[in-house]
Amino acid sequence: MKVYYKLQGKKKSIEMPANKTVEDLLLKIKQNPEAVLVAVDNTVIPENEKLKNGKTYLIMPVASGG
């Protein structure tokens, strides 16, 4: 299936096997699940949620410097 993700203002699409989780997506795009929050449809979701075809996942790094 195809999902979209938005990271640092850039939107990209990625092909993922069925039954994968948000965590799998993060690992695939080399983001540590510990260091980000993920939202879909304006709601934050836990990393172990299943991915849904066609959805856009917003990935937010939580660290701010300074």
Binding site: N32, A35, L37, T43, V44, V62, A63, S64, G66
Partner: protein
Amino acid sequence: MKCTICKKPAIINLRYSKDAYCQQHFISTFDKKVIDTINKNKMLQYNDKVGVGVSGGKDSMITLFILNRLHKKGKLKHKPIGIAIDEGIKGYRDKSLVDLRKFCKEYDIELHEFSIKDEFGKTLDDFVKISDKKKMALKPCSICGVFRRYMLNKYSRELKLDKLATGHNLDDEIQSFMINLFRGDAARSARLGPITGVIRPKDFVLRIKPLYFTPEKESFLYSMIRKFPTHNYVCPYAHTAFRNEVRESMDQLEYKYPGTKFSTVKSSLRFIEIAKDAYSGLKEINNCKLCGEPTSKKTCKTCELIEKLIN
């Protein structure tokens, strides 16, 4: 995934405690943890006049918000105030101060701003350029940290504060501890801990860190849910810091072994206590012969730094 408390859909899964929370219960457990941290560490007394060192970032806004609520609930006599240091970092602090002013206006909180330029004649950006030109091998954060600590202490005293709260979270503290360890400067960790600065009470305003046990990921979510007007801008100098690498390593360990951060902070607390005992009383505190601020030497670190940068 369901909320541990009410079984509604969870928004966050805390692997270190095996709890998941919906929005409502995330907020209530977060608040409770911060209040517990304040109470267990005896950070505040009813009559204390409290200031919060604020930057326009999420963590200091949360700290100010929670302390302000304690005041509203009658648990703190005085309304807390905000103290901000404008370092003079173009494209960063100017923007984050806009967020901060908006926040303080929204919650009707008194805000005091002081700038490095007014205090020392030049902005941090200027000082960084000077130090580069002179090949001084000084990291921007080292200059920034010395000046900011100096000004916060000086103005907290002038504003007659009993306590100065800062927004340091669990991740910040672990990073500082590990950095000191890696650099062979473990004794420096005597300065860490949930409460610091008791050597000569009339000179040093006691520092408290209500978010000491709050991971940054959770403070990010809290500030997002509460819709605090922060953009969480990133300082352009932050990437030069060793700190970022330590942060990444800690995040990796936490991911592989959930709970690592909490056990690290637990060991660090034991260590900090021992270090405090071992190093307190060793130092005599004088007044800096140039500026009069408290120091363990003849001239304070800030005046030394200014001397090196300007002359």
